[in-house]
Structure formats: C-alpha cells, structure tokens
C-alpha cells in the first residue's frame, strides 16, 4: 500500500509539471529547447543510483534544497515523501513524452481558427490543447505510474530502505530475498506486484482507447 501511495503521489505531483514542460516543448520556440528536452530525458538514461545520489545531495538533510525546505517543515530525506519525489522524477520523462507528442499533433490551423475567434493562449490551452491531449496525459500517467512502482535504485540511494516509511514493494521484495526462509513472503509480494501492474495496464488501455476513439470522430478536416 505504501508503494501505491508513493507512486500515486509521485505521479500526481509530477503531472502538472510534466504538462507544463510538454506544453513548452511542443509549442515554444526558444533557444535551449533541445537542452531542456535532454535534461528532462536524463532520469531515463542515468543509472538510478546516480539519480538517487543527486537527489540525496540536493534534497537530503544536508543538501541545500533539503535544508531550505526543512525551514517550512518539509522533510524529504529518508521519508516516504522523498520516495515519492524519486518515483516522480524517474517517471517524469515517460510522462512528458506522450503528452508532448499529443500536443504536437494538435493542428496549428485549429489554433489559428481560435485566435481569430478571440481566444488568447491560455483560453486556447483550455479549449483545445488540454482536451486533445487527454489520451497523451492518460498514457503518460500509466507509463509513469508503472515506472514509479518499480523504482528501486534512486529510492534506496536517496531515502534508504526503512520498513513502514520508505520500504516500497520493490525494496521489500529485495529485503525479503536477502533473508532465508521467506519464499512465501516473496512470492506473495510478487503476486501483489503483478496484480497491481495488470490492473494499471488494463485501466490505462481502456482509458486511452475510450479517449482516442472520441478523438477520431474528432478533428475533422477535409483538405
């Protein structure tokens, strides 16, 4: 259950940030766009241990951001919230990508048609981009959630493996594997993990399917 909470909170907090990033990458024209794109993709290619180390040094009890946040009573290091941060960060690239693709697929002529009808950028975001990006958002969420659930390296490096606080399902399976006579426990947890994954995938597929079919009746243009 801790796993669900960690992955869920991580993904939920990442979602708006990911959408903002995807929007900027899809619509924006600025210098350093590919650099930004590369940075966002980093957690995907970096060894998770490295991600965890960076997090520890930034957000840990002695990290600059961590100390600053501590003034407001927000402690991430060695807490489940820290695990959520790690999960959200590694999930970020996977969430941004499908969103960006969905946003890039929005016909620019539809934007122009709304401009001449008197809608500014933010109104167009609500009227046009957001509804058309729903399949991308759903797909990104599911991918991100799956990735967050399975997150191991960055979590154990950043927030350690504390039962009841930061010990997610993956970490628990790892711990159990190291002590003898826990085969039943291990396989129970494996079964739970599998069950959650299957449910997540089924739910996401139905979501995507429903939204994309609504979409296909959608953008009608006869050139």
């Amino acid at each position: 259950m801790l796993s669900l909470r960690v992955a869920g909170v991580g993904v939920l907090f990442t979602l708006p940030i990911a959408f903002a990033l995807a929007y900027v990458l899809a619509r924006g024209q600025f210098h350093g766009k590919s650099l930004l794109s590369a940075i966002i993709m980093l957690p995907l290619v970096m060894p998770p241990v490295v991600t965890g180390l960076i997090l520890l040094n930034l957000f840990g009890p002695f990290g600059p951001v961590g100390q600053w946040l501590a003034q407001f009573g927000i402690v991430l290091g060695f807490r489940w919230t820290g695990a959520a941060l790690a999960a959200g960060l590694v999930a970020l690239p996977l969430i941004v990508r499908p969103m960006r693709m969905a946003l890039e697929n929005v016909d620019p002529r539809l934007h122009e048609a709304l401009k001449v009808a008197g809608h500014n950028r933010w109104q167009r975001l609500l009227i046009l981009d957001l509804p058309l990006a729903v399949p991308g958002i759903a797909a990104g969420m599911v991918l991100g959630f799956a990735k967050a659930m399975g997150e191991f390296g960055a979590t154990i490096t950043f927030v350690a493996n504390i039962p009841g606080e930061t010990q997610t399902l993956s970490l628990a399976i790892f711990s159990a594997l190291q002590s003898p006579g826990t085969e039943v426990l291990v396989w129970t947890m494996v079964a739970i993990s599998l069950g959650i994954s299957v449910v997540a995938v089924v739910v996401s597929e139905t979501l995507v399917e429903r939204f994309s079919s609504r979409q296909n009746r959608g953008v009608v243009s006869r050139a």
Binding site: D107, R109, L110, E112, A113, L114, K115, V116, A117, G118, H119, N120, Q123, I127, L128, P131, L132, R214, Q215, R217, G218, V219, V220, S221, R222, A223
Partner: protein, 354 residues
Amino acid sequence: MLELDVKAARGDFSVEAAFSFPVGLSALVGTSGAGKSSLLRLIAGLDQPRSGKIVLGDTLWFEGKNKVNLPTHKREIGMVFQTGLVLAHKTVMQNIELGARGAAVSEKLLELTGCAELLNRPVGGLSGGEQQRVMLARALAGRPKLLLLDEPLSSLDPVSREDLQNIMLRLFPSMEIPILYVTHAFEEAVRLGNNFLRMEGGKIVAQGGAREVLAYGSAMGQELGVSSILHGIVASEVKNGVGIVSLGGQDIEVSAANLVKGKKTAIRLWARDLILSYQRPQGLSARNCLAARIVTLKSVSFGQVLVEVDLEGQKVSALILGKTSEEMALAAGQKIFLIFKSATIESGTPIQML
C-alpha cells in the same frame, strides 16, 4: 474602413500592399500564389508584416515604426478559412459560441447561416459545407468589425458551394463592415461583390469593377467569370416555367424565377453562354434570340475574344474563340443576333449590380 500599407516577406516571396477597404464586400482575386491569402493573414495578425501600418476605423492594429502589434485575438475580426476548422469535442452550438466573444448567439444568426438545423448533429458527422456554415456563424457571432474569408468555397462540392454562396448573398448586403473575400474563381467573386482587387506577385495590380479588373492583363480562366447584368421590367410572371422580362424593344424569356409582374428586375448573362449569329436561326431549342450591335472586340487569354454588344442601350459581353471571330469577320458596328437558353439566365437570387 480598413486602411492598409504593409510590406512583408517570407523566403523569396514578398507581399506589398497599400489600400483602403471600404464597408462592403471587396473581392481579392488572382491566381494561387499571388499573395491573396498571405495578405489576409497579415490583416488578421496571424503573420506579422516587416513594416507598415494597419488601421481599422480608429484603432491602430499594427505599426512597424512604433512596434505596435495588436494580437489576433484582440482584433475583433471574423474569419473563415478554406476548410472547416471545427472542434470535434464540442457541440455545434459550442463551436459557434466560440466566436461569440461573450455575447449570446441569436436565433436569427443560426437561421440565416443555416445552422439552426445542425444544432443536434454530432460535429464529427458534418459535411464540409455544413462545417463551413458553422464556421461562418462562428465568425459572425461576435459581431466582428471586419470579416475575412479565405477561399471559403474552394474545398466544397458544387451543391454545398451553391448553398453557402446563397447564404452569403443573403447575409452580406446588410452588413456594415468591410468584408474581404479571397478567391481564385472570378465567377464566384462576381456573384458576391462589385469591388475587385487583382493581386499578382504579392501586389495589388488592379482595382475596380469587374470590367476594369479584367482589362488588366488576364488571369487564367478569369474570362469565364465575365457576366453582364441587364435591367428590365417583368412583362409576364412565370407560366409553364417561362417568364418574360422586357428590355424595352425586345423581350427575354427567363426560366424559373420569382418574378412579380410590373416590377423592375435584374438578370445576369454569363459571357461564355452566349452565341452570336448573323441570321435569326430557325428550329433552335434556345428560346432567346435578340438583335444587337457589336460595340468592341477585345482579345483575351486562351485565344478568345470578348465581344461587347449593345442590346437595347445596355452592354452585354459575349466570349467566343478568336478563330470564330476571324471566320465570321466580326467587326465593331455590325448587326448581330444574340442567342441564349432561358436556363442559362441567372435571376431571382439577389444580384450584385455591376
């Protein structure tokens, strides 16, 4: 009044125009690539000119010198594009309301644009012509101060085209804003408006009535759109499918029209539909054969000749092949018979007078 003096360039293509558009419809004609749509996009603010000035009424929209550039969404325009850019995840009504700028969409607008009957239809199931009707309603819903139409009929089938054209003919004459209508089909422009601008290579090269604009060089197929308007008085209402319009000395038989006896009326003859003959032919199915006199002959593109004749004091243009003109030895001052079918005469719908 829309005042325009802009220069713009993209790649090796440039647009340069200085012009004032009065209230009413101005048709921007010219071949594709002449810069008509580019000019419209500059006016809408979808593209930015390099330099110059755009003013609508007393509002400055763009001025290169002082870096004034009112964003598109604040320009209070209505615009219809080549294709229907409707949002499929909204209803027909919501699509129209998108252009309303907070105002309520009136029943009358829905009725006039032919959208009232579309309200319960799924947007995804609308035909191209129906989508354009929705786009037109959206463009007018916000009471725009300027209406821009970028070849709104070009992607439609003939029936939808006729439909939308009739809708526009009903709507536009009562609107007191400048309307810019871009088309490459001269015929379409002639039916809708009486102020023409010819664009070529990014510049406005001619302006005026159909004759003046045509007199400037000749664009491909433009002659096909030449027509003449004749004024007459209804001598007999439609009986057995034929009504009679008197031009004074001679009568014209007109098919299918809501004619009211004794009323003045106008009819349109397309130049390409007219046949010239030295004799009054016998046993011909065409119902009209009128005596006229040739005034001028002018060579136009595709080896064709535009013959202007005087018919009861009114001017009529006929389009024939140059070869025919030579073989018949046509010349100014000659007497000639003008032959045409009743069915080719346009009447009934409001006709813009040239």
